[in-house]
Amino acid sequence: MISAYYFGAISLILIGLYAVLTKRNLLKILVGLSIMETGVNLLLISVGYVSGRTAPILTEGATPQTTVDPIPQALVLTAIVIGVATTALALTVAMNLYEKYKTLDIEKIRGLRG
């Protein structure tokens, strides 16, 4: 039986993938990408969890034997910032596309028609 955290993370990734595959509005596709990012981050964090342990901050009371793995948290810190950066860049591209074509429907935008 798979853990609820893994199930939730995989579900978020798949919901994002569904939005990317089927939605026609560019902003909805970007929302889907953000949801996928969130799912990936949640998955990374939950792989590093050790049941019954606290955050890896070694102040009074916490020893290396009572804390969770710090490495996934460091990786996710990096991944979140990169996600924000790519989202900002993609939103800018969406703004430019709207100014040029007056629509956000990707099937109406010339040059992207599949």
């Binding site: 798979i2 995989i10 579900s11 798949l14 804390t67 710090p70 990169i82 950066a85």
Partner: protein
């Protein structure tokens, strides 16, 4: 309709495949290999109490340098894509009096809390990126409340570049003193703060680098907001 059904089938197959793979990874079990080494040696080797920031800044400092570079390139890309001669705020109305007064009152508190987060990165949860994002939130609030507000560009853009160069300079000093890039010279060569691990003046260059990163992230996200709220002038182009 066919497209949706196909997408759902594809997604269910992918989900089954992912779930099968993850069933091999037991949830909540102790899987630490390198993590154990970091946790056991973080206090002596870096002086930081927060193991995550020690990993981010000290053990895997190049990751953070790359991350800062990605954010810088994104901010530059946003500015380049939205570059026009005449761009200005196009909001039609001012914020209400309650909003304006409230944001004036809250501004110093948000700024102070952001600075607190990045200065205490080696002791409490947080660090440069959350602190910088909090400071950018304060400026976003000003942009939302005041129609005419604009950040002082001649202060912000040099500060952003200087903070980034400061980070690289700290790393290069480590290269000269210790032999490799991002060597923690304050902790390992000067041995400053060895007596007070867990207090503010400890952890070598982590607070310095996090202050630089906090300033850089704060100014960069504010710059992105500034670019996005401006639109080309009516009838212009």
């Amino acid at each position: 309709m066919v497209k949706r059904v196909l997408a759902i089938i594809l997604i269910l197959i992918t989900g089954y495949w992912l779930a099968n793979a993850l069933a091999q990874v037991p949830f909540g079990a102790d899987k630490m290999l390198v993590g154990k080494y970091y946790l056991e040696n973080v206090k002596e080797q870096t002086g930081a109490v927060n193991a995550v920031t020690a990993v981010v800044v000290n053990y895997r400092g190049l990751d953070t340098l790359g991350e800062v570079t990605v954010l810088f390139i994104a901010a530059t890309g946003v500015a380049a894509l939205l570059w026009r001669k005449k761009r200005e705020r196009t909001a039609k109305s001012e914020g209400s009096v309650v909003l304006q007064t409230g944001s004036k009152l809250l501004l110093p508190f948000i700024m102070l809390f952001g600075a607190y987060i990045f200065i205490h990165g080696h002791l409490t949860p947080g660090g440069g990126f959350p602190g910088g994002a909090t400071i950018a939130t304060a400026f976003l609030m000003l942009y939302l409340a005041f129609r005419e507000y604009e950040i002082p560009h001649n202060v912000f853009e040099p500060l952003e570049g200087l903070a980034g160069m400061g980070y690289v300079a700290v790393g290069l000093i480590g290269l000269i003193i210790g032999g490799y890039f991002l060597f923690d010279w304050i902790w390992q060569t000067w041995q400053l703060g060895h007596a007070n691990i867990g207090r503010l003046f400890s952890a070598g260059f982590i607070p310095i680098i996090y202050t630089l990163i906090g300033l850089k992230v704060g100014t960069e996200l504010t710059g992105i907001v500034d670019n996005m709220v401006k639109e080309p002038k009516e009838g212009g182009q």
